[in-house]
Amino acid sequence: MHSTDTVAEARRLMEICNACRYCEGYCAVFPAMELRREFSNADLSYLANLCHDCRGCFYACQYAPPHEFNLNLPRTFAQLRAESYREYAWPAPLAALFRYNGVIVALVLAAVLAAVLLLITGLQQPSIVYGPHAGAGAFYVVIPLRVMIAVGSVAFGYALLALAIGYMRFWRDTAQGLRHPAGMRAWWRALGDAAALRNLSGGGYGCNDRDESFSGVRRWLHHAMFYGFVLCFAATCVATVYHHILGWIAPYPLFSIPVALGTLGGVGLLIGTIGLLILKIARDPAPGAREMLGADIAFLVLLALVAATGLLLLGLRDSAAMGILLAVHLGFVLALFLVLPYGKFVHGVYRLGALVHYAAETAPVRSGERAIE
């Protein structure tokens, strides 16, 4: 991690926090901090990505502004996370996409949508695009399956590659000090922490989602969104098995497994993303960072659009609107894949890395001994 003003500010705050430690019950950041006396740039990147932005420490802080120590940890860590996303992005020149990310995501979305619609309307007969279709293979009449598979897998494959390289860069930078490599047990614990969003529980009492008061709403909305996303992904996997192994061709009936999973996932995604958007706008801006606001909102809106068009497509798949809706929905999905490594989504990748690091460095070695002194 390069030295920047944000890194210097994060170091100043951690040195104050480490002399106080009142917040150690809120989340993993503070116990991780207490394992250190000095904070390298890499340490600060790790701690910033370990922070889940629950904001408990801001409202509890006796040194929060207007106190002269001006301690605003959630804001500084959010700024540092934004810088770390640029630091680890692959390929490096595309790190620039994290600047004005909201605009970038909107432009990608517009471009992809325009391209998909132009291609469909240019290459297909109007009767195919605007006419109703029924029975097996109805979708593939509008957009051939091999085109869907080719474009989708190239885009998604690239996203996975870029995210994996980003993860490796983050890990190589921040986990140098680990005395023991992160083994299966650390991964298992980290995945459990991530799946339960354990660090968004504010020590068991909820987080400061909107203001000084505590609630679990943000955590549950994130669950709805995340597990909605997972269910949609599962729907696609089941459909792949249906198609390629069982030879059952989409569209599938309403009460089939892929449609049930996709519907449930879509609803979860929609509830989660819209809820999180409202929370993002309604919450106290004091502990937040403006740097990430555009990226946050763009990604949530994109996910909501994917979910909404997917549900709409399901509802209207027997009508003449199907052709255009399919194109629009797949356009949104393609745009999502493309911006995956260059937008808000990366927070999950680095957060998971930080949780693995935390699990590894706090794993009891023998009779309460700690892996890092």
């Binding site: 040195e15 917040c23 019950g25 420490c57 409202y59 509890a60 106190h67 002269e68 120590f69």
Partner: protein, 465 residues
């Protein structure tokens, strides 16, 4: 916002833990309550902002406490630290009241963190607030607002007018405007006077100008002085205050916990003249840290420097300020603006007196000096490994002991010995009744909570009759 004008059943002067406990207790007893806090909202809560835990009697382990801590042991601890300067009736009332207080606190929004196993070794006796004192205050303010307590920030109580042994009216100042409020009962929970440098100067002279105040700048003691001037019986030694050595770079007020420095047992401490003046290794640090504020207050210029070397750097909790380091003692003397020759001699004499021993920072080890005055009794190691390290120190004042006398119903007692009819006190303003001397971690919050609840309930009861 509700208008300040009008009359209330209960007026609470102050905005810290004791004030909130009193306001909530009075409101829940059915009284209409106004709470008058001198500080603006951002700095509300007095010194409770800087607290972290609460000392509590308990018979068995709980989610937030280990083992047991029974009344007799609690009382013995109090007797030991106060040297008997305590009122046994009020003290035992507080100790017994601490057990049910825990449930009450939790049911009024206070969150606790699981029992600690760290360096503080207080997990048996003290329950820790999740996020510390400010989080506790946030919870109480939210509860008070929900219950309908009227809260006025930026409003200072100037005069609690006593007439014939009862409060007749209360004069407050808000935004430069003076207002008179009427209340059937008044609870004063407005703290001590440690932030009133002028008052401290009465006892400490010009030295007080060099004191740093660890907590709120709003603890001016105006209500305390006002009541004592009107014939309320004082309690506690007015000249005494709890003073520790803190980093001299700390702000004048409100530096709180992060300015604390635990380096002294592993250092030598010299004054402005570069000379040592007290045994730095006299006893375990938790038993000695509270004497160093006074020791430094008695030194010229009220400044001192803890000096050690690279060997000691990881032995104490980090403070928020970086160590002042130097490759040589001369360079360190220059950085601290101390006399090179005297500092060199002081260090030489100390190093020459260090006897071989087995160093152990956890116990009273056998590393001591022989033939230097003052001696260093434990953890004495030669200071000879660069980089040399120093921290500047000043007295940091935590609280004062002077207060108003109260009875077991938290009623303020007049100098004739009779309690005022409708005036109650809670928190630091009356803590001197129970903690007349010394310090017991988390006990101030216990006094505030227990007496806050008593004062609030009694004030409401009086108002309703």
């Amino acid at each position: 916002m509700t208008s300040l004008a009008g009359s209330y059943d209960v007026l609470v002067a102050g905005g810290g833990n004791a004030a909130l406990c009193a306001a909530i207790a009075a409101r829940e007893a059915g009284a209409s309550v106004v709470l008058v806090e001198h500080a603006p909202r951002a700095f509300r809560g007095g010194n409770s902002r800087h607290t972290r835990n609460f000392r509590i009697m308990h018979a068995a382990p709980t989610a937030t406490l280990t083992e047991a801590y029974l009344e007799d042991e609690y009382w013995d601890d109090l007797l030991r630290v106060t040297g008997g300067e305590t009122d046994e009736v009020l003290a035992r009332l507080t100790v017994r009241g601490s057990a049910p207080a825990l449930t009450w606190m939790a049911s009024h929004g206070v969150r606790f963190q699981p029992s600690l196993t760290g360096t503080l070794s207080l997990s048996r006796t003290n329950a820790f607030f999740l996020g510390g004192g400010k989080a506790l205050l946030n919870a109480y303010y939210q509860t008070a607002e929900r219950l309908g307590v009227v809260i006025r920030y930026d409003t200072e109580v100037r005069d609690v007018r006593l007439r014939n042994g009862a409060v007749d009216s209360v004069e407050v100042a808000s935004a430069g405007e003076s207002l008179t409020l009427c209340a059937k009962s008044v609870v004063v929970a407005a703290g001590g006077f440690q932030a009133n440098i002028e008052w401290l100067r009465q006892y400490w002279g010009a030295a007080a100008d060099n004191f740093l105040i660890r907590g709120t700048p709003y603890a001016k003691g105006r209500v305390l002085r006002n009541l004592l001037n009107q014939g309320v019986m004082p309690v506690g030694d007015p000249t005494q205050c709890h003073a520790v050595a803190i980093d001299a770079r700390a702000p004048k007020f409100d530096g709180g916990i992060v300015t604390r420095l635990d380096a002294i047992p592993f250092s030598i401490v010299v004054n402005r003249d570069a000379r040592r003046f007290y045994d730095e290794g006299e006893d375990l640090w938790p038993k000695r840290y509270a004497i160093w504020g006074r020791l430094i207050a008695q030194q010229p210029g009220q400044i001192a420097y803890a000096i050690t070397d690279a060997k000691a750097l990881t032995l104490f909790m980090p403070s928020m300020y970086p160590a002042i380091t130097a490759a040589t003692i001369d360079e360190l003397a220059d950085k601290l603006t101390l006399d090179r020759v005297v500092l060199g001699n002081t260090l030489h004499a100390y190093n020459a007196a260090v006897r071989p021993g087995r160093f152990n920072d956890k116990i009273l080890d056998d590393c001591r000096t022989d033939g230097v005055a003052p001696a260093k009794s434990h953890w004495a190691q030669r200071i000879d490994t660069p980089p040399y390290v120093a921290y500047p120190l000043r007295p940091g004042i935590t609280f004062t002991y002077l207060g108003v006398k109260v009875d077991d119903k938290a009623r303020v007692v007049m100098s004739g010995g009779t309690p005022a009819r409708n005036l109650f006190a809670a928190g630091e303003i009356m803590a001197g009744n129970i903690l007349g001397r010394g310090y017991l971690a988390g006990f101030g919050m216990t006094i505030g909570t227990v007496f806050g609840r008593i004062a609030g309930a009694e004030a409401a009861k009086h108002a309703q009759h």
